[in-house]
């Protein structure tokens, strides 16, 4: 069976997503006065506290729809909206997690729901009003929630559940210690902002990565999201322990975080995520790893120059096998025994004409080249119109605050 003009590639894996943040797009690109990660976060909190359960499901479904259309087949959803805005539990304590899982499955994506643990605003700082929706009081509540979620979705092989201690800012050391035996994937925001490193050193006398190592979480289970500002010794620790880094380059630029210092991370397994969904474009994420490094280092082919397709294979691997490893999926390669998650690329797209396909796909493509997305051997056929309409309705009345 031949498919002239088409190429099959493994589906992309989006290893770091906050699906409801898709609702921010186009609405948070301004601010009176100084605008930074922290002023962006104020606006993000506004959205997080205005969406009801239906709204969260609707906006999440829109994010997952856009992912499927862009060539993602799996998502790691770093899920931190757990309760009613005032912090009280839903009748079903896992209501919102179930809604997000349902949104992914309605679209057809495979999902690892990374259930977030969040306790506080920071060292010696109680949770704020805006954070009550994210918080638990004891680490056992987090582990119980994961047990219930796993039981509820045990019949769907496309759903798995992991653990996400939000960050060393939001989670105290005793909680991290309580998680050390966790059986599953563990993701955390690590060293995204210099302030986070400084606070961690003041509170614990070490870097966030060193703290995760000391409490027994930094091993093959662990993915450090961002790592924009690794501290001395962090990369060595991660290599030793077999932990990975998930980079989210388009979000990290949108937020003004900075550039991934990829030259410090050699030998560490990499994956990509679209995080805040400023853009949802796997090609843009993977090529940013190479292109930002070129800009910083003043040379070409930073990540590979093995052969004509070496760089493309390296970048596409980060977006596929790298993400599958971060989420604990047997996916990312087209081979026997692997999940049949793949995308069909339209080789007759104008942007690929006359080009060597793999390098052109990795370095020049956009989601317009994706003609079909298949998950588990089935084409993804979401009810696009209904998903878009529900999300548009959910976002229509959001109060974005003073302009």
């Amino acid at each position: 069976m031949t498919h002239p003009g088409k190429a099959l590639l493994p589906g992309f894996v989006n290893a770091h997503s906050h699906a409801f943040q898709r609702g921010l797009r186009g609405h948070v690109q301004w601010s009176k006065g100084e605008d930074t990660f922290w002023s962006w976060r104020d606006r993000m909190y506004r959205l997080a506290n205005q969406l009801d359960a239906d709204g969260i499901e609707a906006v999440s479904a829109l994010a997952f729809l856009e992912m499927a259309e862009a060539g993602f087949t799996s998502v790691g959803e770093f899920h931190y909206l757990h309760h009613l805005p005032e912090g009280t539990a839903y009748g079903d304590r896992e209501e919102l997690a179930h809604r997000v899982v349902r949104a992914a499955r309605r679209v057809g994506l495979r999902i690892n729901l990374l259930r977030v643990a969040y306790q506080r605003a920071g060292p010696d700082k109680d949770r704020t009003r805006e954070q009550r929706r994210f918080c638990d009081d004891r680490p056992e509540q987090v582990l119980d929630a994961i047990r219930r979620l796993r039981a509820a979705h045990q019949d769907d092989p496309a759903v798995s559940v992991g653990l996400a201690p939000h960050s060393v800012r939001a989670v105290p050391r005793a909680w991290l210690e309580a998680f050390s035996d966790f059986d599953g994937r563990i993701h955390a925001h690590v060293s995204e902002q210099p302030a986070e490193n400084d606070q961690c050193r003041a509170e614990h006398g070490m870097s966030p990565t060193a703290l995760f190592a000391e409490v027994g979480l930094l091993d093959e289970r662990f993915t450090a999201v961002h790592m924009t500002f690794p501290q001395s010794g962090d990369a060595e620790l991660m290599r030793e322990r077999g932990s990975g880094v998930c980079a989210c380059p388009t979000t990290e630029l949108d937020l003004g975080d900075g550039f991934l210092p990829i030259d410090h991370l050699a030998g560490i397994p990499l994956s990509i995520g679209t995080d805040s969904h400023a853009q949802i474009d796997p090609f843009a994420e993977v090529r940013a790893l190479e292109l930002h490094a070129r800009g910083l280092q003043g040379r070409r082919n930073v990540l590979s120059s093995e052969d004509p397709d070496g760089l493309a294979n390296r970048l596409l691997d980060v977006g596929t096998v790298g993400g599958a490893a971060a989420l604990g999926l047997d996916a990312g390669r087209m081979s026997v025994g692997q999940l049949a998650d793949f995308v069909i690329i339209d080789l007759e797209h104008t942007l690929l004409a006359g080009s060597r396909p793999l390098p052109a796909i990795a370095l020049a493509a956009h989601p317009g080249v994706v003609s079909e997305t298949w998950v588990g051997g089935q084409p993804v056929c979401p009810d696009r119109g209904a998903i878009v309409d529900a999300a548009v309705r959910a976002l229509a009345d959001v109060d974005w605050g003073p302009k």
Copy 2:
């Protein structure tokens, strides 16, 4: 007349293109050993010397087709392939320029053919074998060529002809002086590489920008392409004289040049170009200006925070009015007396759903949102199949050299 679900925007202006370099895509992403701008240039020269007139027209047409599909309505073609590979003239001395103009007009784009002046490899360095195709012996030959090109295309209002002294490396001071009275737009590569600045200081005792000023070229006619490494005093000079900068961010990263230091260029008119066509995506170019600045400065909204649409308007202006000014076109705005060059954006694209349209278009879109491109009040309807087939044929036999 309403168009539900559609928005009209002014067409994008691609102020810096080497159309034949579209043939490089996917073929130059590797190199044994150190890979830099200079090793990339070796491969680019290979392509430049293997294409015959038909091949140059075919690959140029493919580049222009992709531009039209991506929302560009005009192009500034920095054209430096003038002769047969061994340096002898074609029967019609302007054969290749006519071919490139014809390629643009077959697609339907408006073109300013910026006829390049090129004399030498560098200070005290004769042209190399690979550069013979680009070179003239006297500046009068360049001006004569422009006169003939203008005469040949005087009946087509969509064609204009400008002058492009390639760079201070390739053009001696006496030539620049001979061009001082030129009536039209003048573009030059300026401060793309540190080596270029160093050589200019050694030869002339000043920066490239200061040299252009001293010979009387740095005024409202002048666009400095790249400006990745402006020298002390350059920005002040450009502001004083009313000259512009054309940034080509995706190419500048592809080549490992570096990031535009936009904080040094406040008050200087900006435009964008896709240059080597590593990507052809006006949205990616304009948003890179803001996003690279965010990464470098660690904050958001670097280029504008006036109002919710302020940043989007600023970025889209760079891609439209900014480019039109650089090419001397009355275009870039939807208003009476302006050229009717516009694009129709599909507001129902998934990536725009639920978003404030202008910021989402500027910061999250890709060419897949462009549903139609109109030039001079007419929809662009190129013969896509024939253009693609001819380009694929022209590129099939290129010898890319040792791998």
